[in-house]
Every structure is written in C-alpha cells, then in structure tokens.
C-alpha cells in the first residue's frame, strides 16, 4: 500500500479542526478514525494491481547514440478501473523515459505506454521491474505492486569510423581488379589475359598466349585475395584508460557523472575508454578487409577468451562483430599475453595478419608481450595498434612555470618510453600503428592497405 499527499493534507486540516474544537481530545479521535476509515475504503475499492498483465514490443538492437522505443501494453483483466502511476524501472544507463507515467486503464481494457531509451553506454540494458500504484476513489491511499515484464535492448558500438570507409574502399579499388595492374610483383597474382592496346608495357606481353592466338595478348595482375586477418582486442586493464573526447557522451564520461567526488573544480571529461576506440578501429578494418576479399576473424582476450568470431561470411561479419563487441567491458586485470598468443596460435593455423589492438604501454608490453612475440611473429605477420593519449602530447608541450615543465618532463618520459617500445617492436618485424583516438581507425586502415599493396599479407 501507499499513501498520497492528499492523506497528509487531510491530516494537516485535522490539526486546525483539533485546535478549534471545543473538545480537542474527542476531535482528534474523530479525525483519526475518519481518516483511517477513508484510507481503508480507498484500499478496498482501488483497482487490483496483482492481476494486471504486461506485454512488450519494440526495438531490441540499436547503435549507441540512437534512441530505442519500447512499447509497454498494460492489460487490466479485472472489473475495476486501475488509475494511478506506473514506473518501468530500467537500469540507469539505459536512459529510459518517462520515469513515471500516468496510468488509467478501465476494467477489461488495455493501454499502451511508449518508453524511449537513450542509452549512455554499450551492452545489454534490461528492464528490472514494472511497478504500478493504483489510487483509490477518494485519492487518499493506493495499492502498489511490482511485476516482472522482462525486455532487453542490446546497445551496439556506434562504428563512427564508418565515415572513413568510402575513401578507403576507393583506395582499395585502385589496388583491386577495377584498375588491373600491368606490373607484376610482390602481392599480385595472375588475373586474366587481354588484348594489347597501345601504351601497355611491352614487358607484360604473354608471348605464349600471343603465339596461340593471332593477337598480341598481355597478362593483367591483381592484388592477392583470400588472405586471413585476425583482429585481436586486448580487454585487459590498459584498455580501461579513457582518452580523447567522447563523440557520444558515455555513462560516467561527463564530470558530473563522477557522483560525490565531482567537485566544482572538476577535471576535464575523461572521454572514451581505449577499448571503445580500438573497437571502432577494428570495425573499420573488418569492413575494409571483408570488401577486399579477406577472411576476418575476431578475438577478444585478457586472461580468457572474451569473444570469438571465426569463419563468418562476408555479409554477416559486421553484424556478428558488433553483436559480440557490445557486452565487452575492460577487465581490471593484467592481460595474460602468453595465453593470448597461445589462443591466437590455436585459432590461426595458416599464416595470417594478426592485428593486435592494445596499448603501447612500455611496462606492460615489456613483461607481457615482448618475451612471447617471437612465437607469433615467426608464423604470422603481426601489426600492433595502440591508441595514444592526446592529453599526454599536450602536456609535453607545456612551458612557462616550473610546475608545467615538471609535467612536460613526465609526459616526455612517457612518450619516450612509447617510442622506444615501438622501435623494439619494429626491430622484431612487427608493424606498429600509434595514433591519437580520432585517427586510429583510418591509420589502421591505411596500414592495412599499405601491407596489401606491398603484398605482405
């Protein structure tokens, strides 16, 4: 049960009545009895909440930054009208609205309530409970009850780097059969024979074929296809660090989201986790590689396999990727590089391009990846991509006071460590992409295209 503000108001009027009555004791007893009787009447005659039935329909899959709509249909099988308020309780980061809806369902009828969801982070958001408060005819007291009407909306990563895809596809087409190359070399395979036209390189004339036919025939070449790309996402502690500016405000990304600790001199918004930037880059790379005719697999790993997409067809690749990526969060544990390499070697039997999306953190890489890297680089081509922090770069340029110079020295130290580990990785024959958050996705795509053009896949 629940009371309304009207009950309190009636009791407040009772104060005046008791104050002015000639027999205050009797007046108090009278007011209390009357109020109790009215509340009892309200409770008895309020529409029953327990027999209500709920049905849902609407979106189950949206991208972060989009708005989901979920319909909640309230069915009242009883004979009495259910009038009052309804709360559909979602998890806070689902951004569900309205928080409380007015409800008026006559007996035997249904009403529809439309909930809008503006999620503030990736993952599965679900409704926990539906609570109805049914107010009695006098409006003094209400019956209240919870129902479970489960519904879940999966919020996918936004894939903001989609905007870079057309330009990279154009570059790919230049490499690809649309512009057949006449020069043979590394990274190309025989495509077809065609008639010689003036301007073709005479070195590409296929004399054998020319001899069989009456025309002069040249060979054309195209970039190699059907290579394998394995994208590995490191979900360990280093991927939790937030960098850059959040393109879509995430839960906890705004300074106000910090709760009690957010003071007036709150620091700048912490941006997106490295993990999300890495996902964005992985999606662009996967889309590009799938168009280029390569087989793309995906592995997320910290101390165990968090997600695995293997052997997906080209049409289904992106949707299955965003689906497995959606619930992945950074785990606050040190990633197990040895286990990661073992998992990669177990899954990639043939030579492939292993794209490792991690942080170029000297300490973490020194102890984790470096000792086991030769196992990987001897069998596969390895590309390590790391999201750099633009804030550190800004700190390195600070001058003017001793405090700022100390900060600059610390930033310089961090950058130096990053450059040194990059050099060491390159010495092992590993490709390295180190770019700020907004540029990591196109930089990774460019690195892939460069490798493809060079025929190193």
């Amino acid at each position: 049960m629940a009371l309304t503000g009207r009950a309190g108001l009636v009791a407040a009027i009772g104060i005046v009545v008791v104050l002015l009555a000639p027999q205050p004791g009797a007046a108090l007893a009278g007011v209390c009895l009357l109020l109790a009787a009215a509340i009892l009447v309200d409770l008895v005659f309020a529409g029953a909440v327990r027999p209500l039935r709920f049905h849902r329909s609407g979106d189950t899959l949206i991208r972060l930054g989009q708005r989901a709509t979920v319909e909640l249909i309230v069915e009242n099988p009883g004979s009495r009208r259910v009038r009052g308020r309804l709360r559909d309780a979602w998890q806070p980061s689902a951004g569900a609205g309205p928080r409380v809806a007015e409800l008026d369902v006559p007996g035997g009828e249904r009403r529809r309530i439309i909930m809008t969801l503006d999620p503030t982070r990736r993952g599965d958001r679900s409704s926990v409970a539906v609570t109805v408060r049914s107010v009695g005819p006098l409006g003094l007291a209400a019956r209240q009850g919870d129902h479970q009407a489960p519904w879940s909306v999966r919020v996918l990563p936004p894939f903001l780097s989609r905007k870079h895809l057309p330009s990279r596809l154009a570059r790919l087409r230049e490499l690809d059969g649309q512009h057949p190359a006449l020069v043979r070399g590394q990274g190309t395979e025989f495509d077809s024979l065609r008639e010689y036209v003036v301007g073709d390189d005479v070195r590409s004339i296929d004399w054998r074929a020319t001899a069989r036919r009456h025309d002069v025939v040249v060979r054309t070449w195209r970039p190699e296809r059907d290579r394998r790309v394995l994208i590995v996402l490191d979900t360990g502690r280093t991927s939790a660090g937030r960098v850059g500016d959040a393109p879509i405000p995430m839960a906890g990304a705004t300074p106000g989201g910090g709760g009690l600790l957010a003071g007036p001199d709150s620091r700048p918004a912490p941006g997106w986790p490295r993990l999300d930037w890495s996902m964005d880059a992985a999606l662009l790379l996967a889309a590009l590689a799938a168009r280029a005719g390569d087989q793309v697999d995906f592995l997320a790993y910290d101390r165990a396999v968090r997600a695995w997409v293997g052997g997906a067809s080209r049409t289904e690749l992106l949707s299955s990727l965003v689906n497995v990526m959606a619930p992945i969060e950074a785990e606050l544990i040190e990633a197990d590089s040895q286990g990661m390499v073992a998992a990669i070697l177990a899954r990639a039997k043939r030579r492939c391009l292993v794209v490792l999306l991690t942080d170029l953190n000297p300490a973490a890489l020194e102890e984790g990846l470096m000792p086991v890297l030769p196992q990987l680089s001897s069998r596969h081509l390895v590309l390590v991509a790391g999201v750099s922090d633009p804030r550190v770069a800004a700190m390195a340029g600070r001058r003017g006071s001793a405090e700022k110079v100390y900060d600059a020295a610390a930033a310089e130290h961090a950058q130096l460590g990053r450059r040194r580990i990059t050099t060491r990785l390159r010495r092992h024959g590993v490709e390295v992409v180190d770019a700020p958050p907004e540029e990591i996705a196109p930089a990774l795509a460019d690195a892939y295209l460069a490798l493809k053009a060079a025929g190193r896949l």
Binding site: A2, A11, V130, G241
Partner: protein, 393 residues
C-alpha cells in the same frame, strides 16, 4: 496512451510483490512475539507491588525507604497510627486528645501553623523550619556520618534500645535537654520539654526504614520513641504535591498552564500528519535499480601523477634527463645521425646546423642538471629553441 487491438502474444509478465497471505505468513511469528511481549509487560505492571516511586518514611510504603514495617509493628502493639498529609488534618487529629506528631517532611507545609499543634513531637531528619518547630535547638554545622552509635545518655528509651543506626545531623539542645548518640560536638538525638509536650529531634530517619529496622537496636529505639501508647499522627509529604506553588502559596504558573488545552492535542495531530506525510514521501515507486558501471579512469592519470611526484620531490635531474632525452631522440634523425650517435657527434652536428656555440649546446644537452626551478624552465625553453632552429632550417 490509446486503445489498442489485443495482441496475440501470451502475457509474459508475472507479479513479484508478496501477497497479503504470504506477508502474513512471513510476519506472523514476529507479530506473535510482539503480542506476547506486550501482554507480559502489562501483566508485570499490574502485578508489581507498590507501584510508583518510593515515598521515604511513609507508613504505607513497602519499599526499602518506606516505614510500613514500623507502622505495622506499632499497630500490633495497639498503637493507633494515623497517616495524614496536610497540616489541617494533623490539627484535626490533635484536637481529639494527646497525641504524638511524627514529622518526616515539611517541604509543602507551613512550619508556623505546624508548630501551633499541641502534643508531643518527633521530628525526623533535617526538616525545613526546624527553628519554629523546635525552638532553642541549634544545629552543629558539620554533618555527622550515619553509622552505628551508642546512646551514652540517660534517656530510658535510648539506653533500653542500646546501639542504633544514627547520624545525619547533630544538634545542641536548649538547657534542660537530654542528648543521646553523640557525634562530634553535638548529639544526634535531642529530647527536651516544650510547650504542651516533649519534643524529640533525631538527625536521621534511617533507623525507621524497612531496610534498617531489623538491625541492632533500631526497632527498639523506634518503638520506645513512638509506641508509648499515645495515638500517632504520622505527617508525610502530600500524595499530590501542589504544582508550581511553594509552601508559602506563591503563584508561579508555567507557560504550559497558560496555553489552551487544544494546543497539546493539535500537537499530537500534527505528529500524526507528519507521520502520514513521511509515509507518503518515503514510499518508493518500485525498486532501486543497481548497475555495474565500468570504471572511469583517465589514461593520462599516471603521467600526471609522475609529474606531481617530480614536482613534490623537486626532481630536477630526472625532469631534465627526460626533456633532454626527448629532444635528442627527436633531433638525431633530423640531423641525419643514427640512433647510436654519441654525444660529441650530436653536439657537433647541432652546432654546425644552428650556428650556436658548441659548448652551450653541449651543456644544454649533456651538462649538469639545473640547480633550481628557474634553471629547469630556462633549459626547457632553450631545448625548444634548438628544436625550432633545426626544424626551421
């Protein structure tokens, strides 16, 4: 909201709130225990002997501080004991014949009216208005410890009783008075003839209480003093002492007496209204929903922390080393040198490229750490300057 056509999907919802029956089932043991507790308390209150606070030296009081035992002893010996709680009642009793007036408390009585009552008097303890009730009696300033004392006097009532639990206050009597149970300069029992009878004053009433009566000669002394055959008028503190009025009848009415009676009831009503309002505001519409949120930590925090450590320890050498290493790392490829280039090669190439003094460049890149913060700021500025020179040329 709008009317919709019934969908064919089966209802997937189910109520999760407890029903009235299940709530009763869950809480009935608690309710039972509560009811039993209340019942036991009520019965205990009803059964409890006496009730209310103890009234010291009251002939009807059965607590340790009361004197019902003595009153019963006296009645068993055929002595009439009349308990009165006002001067008027005592005066009425006194008019019936020669009686003993036992005074235990005068806080609420007029001692001058009291002193006009004829007959024998036994004054117990240091009562208010002793000067009027026992004229000629003087108090010894030092209080006497209440303990077992010997009579050491010729008063038959005391010598027959022997040692008794006396003390409290010692007195010196007027000429002709008999003092017993000495303490210090005075006596704790003084008996002297007064107008219309004998006045006896004792310093403390402990020997009359239920607690002490059975000890030593206490009972004997009490009976010898009180139970000599005369009827006893036992004056006690009034059962319902007049509130806000002293014994002299001064009118002192409190704020609460001046308020209309309705105010108190309205106050109760406002408490009820407050409780109802609190219940209205406090009842949540549905559960509190919790969620596991990802950690919010900026990646640059470790770098900022290192900067603050440098600052806190004034680590100029480390800071300078970092800045120099960064500059050299950026400059060597621009100068066309390999990563393994030595200090001399770098300085020479840099001096040739920028036209700066080789010694100055060498000191900036490989020299001693700056001695103060200003030196560090200057070094950072100079390194920037060299880098700019190289990139612009």
């Amino acid at each position: 909201m709008s009317l919709v056509t019934p969908p064919s999907a089966p209802p997937a919802s189910r109520p999760t709130s407890p029903t009235v029956r299940s709530t009763w089932r869950a809480w009935r043991m608690v309710a039972l225990i509560g009811v039993v507790t209340v019942l036991v308390s009520v019965i205990a209150l009803l059964v409890r002997p006496g009730g209310g606070p103890s009234r010291p030296l009251d002939p009807d009081d059965t607590t340790l501080a009361g004197s019902k035992a003595l009153a019963e002893l006296l009645r068993a010996r055929g002595v009439t004991v009349d308990r009165v709680d006002s001067v008027q009642a005592a005066a009425d009793k006194a008019s019936t014949g020669h009686r003993l007036l036992l005074i235990t408390d005068t806080t609420y009585f007029n001692e001058f009216r009291l002193s006009t009552i004829p007959g024998d008097r036994l004054i117990v303890g240091n009562v208010f208005g002793l000067r009027a009730l026992a004229p000629g009696l003087r108090r010894v300033p030092e209080p006497a410890r209440t303990r077992l004392r010997d009579p050491e006097c010729g008063l038959p009532a005391a010598t027959a009783a022997g040692s008794a639990y006396m003390g409290g206050m010692a007195f010196r009597g007027p000429p002709g008075a008999t003092g017993c149970y000495p303490a210090g300069d005075g006596h704790t029992l003084i008996s002297f003839p007064n107008a219309g009878g004998t006045t006896t004053v004792v310093g403390d009433g402990s020997f009359l209480t239920n607690q002490r009566l059975a000890e030593d000669g206490n009972a004997a002394l009490a009976i010898n003093l009180i139970g000599t055959g005369r009827p006893v008028t036992w004056l006690v503190r009034p059962d319902n002492p007049p509130q806000g009025e002293s014994a002299l009848g001064e009118s002192r009415r409190s704020m609460y007496d001046l308020m209309p009676a309705g105010i108190a009831w309205a106050l109760y009503m406002s408490v009820i209204a407050l409780v109802l309002t609190a219940f209205w505001r406090g009842r949540r519409l549905g559960p509190v929903v919790t969620e596991k949120l990802p950690v919010v930590v900026r990646a640059a925090e470790t770098v900022e922390g290192r900067g603050r450590l440098y600052r806190a320890r004034r680590a100029r050498q480390r800071a300078a080393d970092s800045l120099r290493a960064g500059t050299i790392d950026r400059l060597t490829p621009r100068l066309g040198l390999g990563s393994g280039a030595g200090a001399h090669e770098v300085v020479a190439a840099l001096a040739a490229r920028t036209g700066q003094d080789p010694q100055q460049v060498g000191a900036a890149l490989y020299g001693a750490p700056p001695v103060d913060d200003a030196g560090l700021v200057g070094l950072a500025g100079y390194l920037d300057f060299i880098e700019r020179q190289v990139s612009e040329l």
